[in-house]
């Protein structure tokens, strides 16, 4: 029997208008991976933030090594040997990787006033060598891609040599190979007796990594099972309280759909080379590829967020110039960024404001004043359609759970009524139930005649949703497959190897 590291007993927490946790209990043993699952807003992150000293519980106790403790600050949590990988990336973009990792723990020189930068970079280097990370510690975090930032978060959490590590959706932004690498690290940590609380919406991962699984629903514990004899479907129904449909493939589309968007020879200085494809009305075109393959770059180039070096874009046969996202939106191209915190949401504004923001024009009266009643109506409609879990449409979006924030971003673009919608990782950090809702939403939108691009790192999701699948590798389009001809293996082959002769046009 291993020593018990953490014991959470009857913890409750209420935010204004929301009971986030009620009477939750949980234990974590040394060398154990304890998975915590539940729908968006179930309270997972809140529980973890209590352990990390960011929130304090209203009721209940937390014991570390059998002793009841008060964790009243992030530093107190660090001192107790607890470290956390935050769900929402919480790095400082203007600082370097090394500075971010060791922030608050810098070794000092010169009467304790100065930071020993050489030491900082050396320690980061050592840490990265040990973890097998190929990042330059002196690079600014702001210059990294989301997935790379996620890697930095992970490295930061591991750098504490903590005995208790909380991972709040660490794999949300990672590709499969990176996820496997992380699992390797988790294995090492377990052998050294570290206890890990692991939160994820990718339930398939749990079998590979977890020892026990605890399910939260609406802030309460539904149950704890041993991962070995857990049945995924059982876990899912515990999470959502109902049965879900299984996976399917989309039915094939009629061949004579008109082309809505055509991209020819798109190139950028940094990455993209001669990307050409077309997108038809009523179709969902999936974009698959490894991290850094250039999928997000394609989306950003199309919607004018990045400068292009060459290439033409045609909308319904007409050549258009898109030099900014505002241009794109005017032309009816909507882009849902993969990084909702940076590009997708005004976190300090309420839900209604965010949903209506890009479409405020249609919510003003003759005098040019905003019609609040209409704004509220629109906001309520989308909160309902997408089942956004929020106490009210007046709630500030920064207080929503991660998955619900994502839904607000989607609602925002739905309200805008675009012809072409580009979804970049639309289900990242979203629970199974909500995923289903978003899938059927995407399908409905396509059926209504919208043309949809869906970028996703989860192959099963691409296979399930996309009518055709564009595969990218190193900035080139290496294949466009019909769903019927695609499987995980074919996609991976195209994603990892360049087809001789360069890109394949669609």
């Amino acid at each position: 029997m291993n020593a018990q590291l953490v014991r959470v007993d009857g913890v409750s927490k209420t935010f204004p208008g929301v009971r986030a946790l009620s009477d939750v209990s949980l234990t974590l043993d040394a060398g154990e991976v304890h998975a915590l699952v539940g729908e968006n807003g179930a309270g997972k992150s809140t529980l973890m933030k209590i352990l990390a000293g960011i929130h304090h519980q209203d009721e209940g106790t937390v014991a570390i090594d059998g002793r009841v403790v008060e964790i009243d600050s992030p530093t107190a949590a660090q001192d107790l040997g607890i470290s956390i990988i935050h769900q929402e990336l919480s790095l400082m973009p203007d600082l370097t990787i090394a500075e971010n990792i060791f922030i608050g723990r810098e070794r000092r020189r010169g009467f304790g006033l100065f930071v020993d930068d050489a030491d900082l970079n050396r320690r980061a280097r050592e840490l990265f060598d040990h973890l097998g990370i190929a990042l330059d510690p002196r690079a600014k975090v702001g210059s990294l891609l989301v997935a790379q930032q996620q890697v930095v978060e992970i490295a930061k959490a591991l750098s504490f040599d903590a005995r208790i590590i909380i991972m709040d959706e660490p794999t949300a932004a990672l590709t499969e190979s990176e996820t496997h690498a992380l699992f390797g690290l988790i294995g090492d940590l377990k052998r050294h007796g570290t206890g890990i609380i692991y939160i994820s919406h990718r339930l398939e991962e749990l079998a590979a990594v977890a020892d026990r699984i605890t399910v939260l629903r609406d802030g309460a514990c539904v149950g704890t099972l041993a991962a070995r004899d857990a049945d995924l479907r059982q876990v899912v129904s515990m999470m959502v309280g109902r049965q879900l449909r299984g996976q399917t493939r989309p039915p094939s589309l009629p061949g004579d759909l008109p082309t809505v968007l055509e991209v020819r020879g798109l190139s950028t200085k940094s990455l993209l080379k001669d990307v050409s494809f077309s997108l038809r009305r009523g179709e969902i075109l999936g974009f698959a590829g490894l991290m850094g393959a250039g999928r997000t770059e394609v989306a950003r180039a199309i919607c004018g967020a990045d400068r292009t070096d060459g290439g033409e874009i045609f909308l319904s046969g007409r050549r258009v110039r898109v030099s900014s996202p505002a241009d794109a939106a005017r032309l009816g191209i909507g882009y849902l960024s993969e990084d909702r915190k940076r590009f997708g949401l005004m976190l300090d504004q309420d839900v209604a404001f965010n949903i209506v923001a890009s479409d405020l024009r249609r919510h003003v009266n003759a005098a040019g004043l905003v019609r609040d009643d209409q704004v509220r109506q629109t906001a309520r409609r989308y909160v309902e359609t997408l089942s956004i879990r929020t106490p009210s449409i007046r709630q500030r979006t920064k207080h929503l759970s991660g998955g619900n924030q994502q839904k607000v971003v989607i609602a925002k673009w739905l309200a805008r009524d675009c012809e072409v919608l580009i979804f970049d990782e639309p289900t990242r950090g979203i629970d199974v139930g909500a995923k289903e809702e978003i899938y059927s939403l995407l399908r409905t939108l396509a059926d209504e005649g919208k043309a949809i691009i869906m970028i996703s790192s989860e192959l099963p999701e691409v296979l399930r949703m996309a009518d055709r699948i564009a595969v990218m590798c190193e900035g080139r389009l290496t294949a466009v497959l019909d769903n019927a001809d695609a499987d995980q293996e074919t996609i991976m082959t195209h994603a990892t190897k360049l087809v001789p002769g360069g890109g394949v046009a669609a």
Binding site: S90, P93, R105, L135, A139, E176, S177, H180, A181
Partner: protein, 343 residues
Amino acid sequence: MRDVDATGPAPASEALTAPEHVRTTRVGVLRRQLQQFLAFASLIALILFFSIADDNFLTWSNITGILLSTAVIGILALGTTFVIVSGGIELSLGTGMTLAAVMTGVFLTNLGWPLLLGVVAGILSGAAMGLINGLNIAVLRIPPFIATLAMMLIAQGLALVISGTAPIYFTDVPGFTDISQGELIPGVDLPNAVLILFALTALGAIVLRKSLLGRYAFAIGSNEEAADISGIDVRRWKILIYTLSGVFMGIAGVVLAARLNSAQPALGLGYELQAIAAVVIGGTSLQGGKGSIVGTLIGALIVGTVTNGLRIMSIPQEWQTVIIGLVILVAVYTDNLRRGRDG
């Protein structure tokens, strides 16, 4: 990029990420150097322009004149760079400096304290105002704009009340004017005020780039919430940052008083905006998280050079102000261009 086997489990040593970063770093370093270079190049261009436009511009006495008139704004700008990097703003610089000058006058002239003690006490009165700003902002959570706006008014009023609205002269304090007007380096015709500006620049650059305080200013300005959950005592460091700015405010007050041989209670309002202008022209972002001390010095020199050059060319004072305003627009716009649209 290597081929990665994405189906089988990879060993822990398998790279957690693709090696794209190498490019980004080098670009980052280049960019930073370019920023300094651009500001410096525009300074040189300005100097060239004015020296062609007017023969009297590039004379030693005019250059020291520019440096001397830049000193006060420059010192204020150095201190407030820390505040702006941390995502804050400081509006009480100008009148705070005046109050510090008046207090120095009270200590030295009215109370007859020894020179060193009086000067230190004068600087500390600046620090005290900074400390109060810091407490209001960090502890009472009053937004920096409002807290320092209030301090601006309070300092302005107090300077008038304490001095009885009349200037305090330092004629009876031997050696006081040497602080600004003396020439420490024998044989070189360079006023001490300028040496103080350069010394503080060097010190400030080290503190901003290398010290814990500087590092945390960047961290807080970059993402305050992240800094907080990383275990940084954000409150404490904010208080220190504003206090540091207050110290610079105090020094600027002493330097100004020593240059004028008097504390002028009605002077000072408007200096804060020129100082902020210098910081912004120097490439520091008002959003926080980005900035440099050397940039600020160059920014202050640009403001000083433009003012001086226009005056030599006999362009009226009113127009000088208009042109400084345009310089700010041009500087920030070119900075944006350089950063690209997503900066």
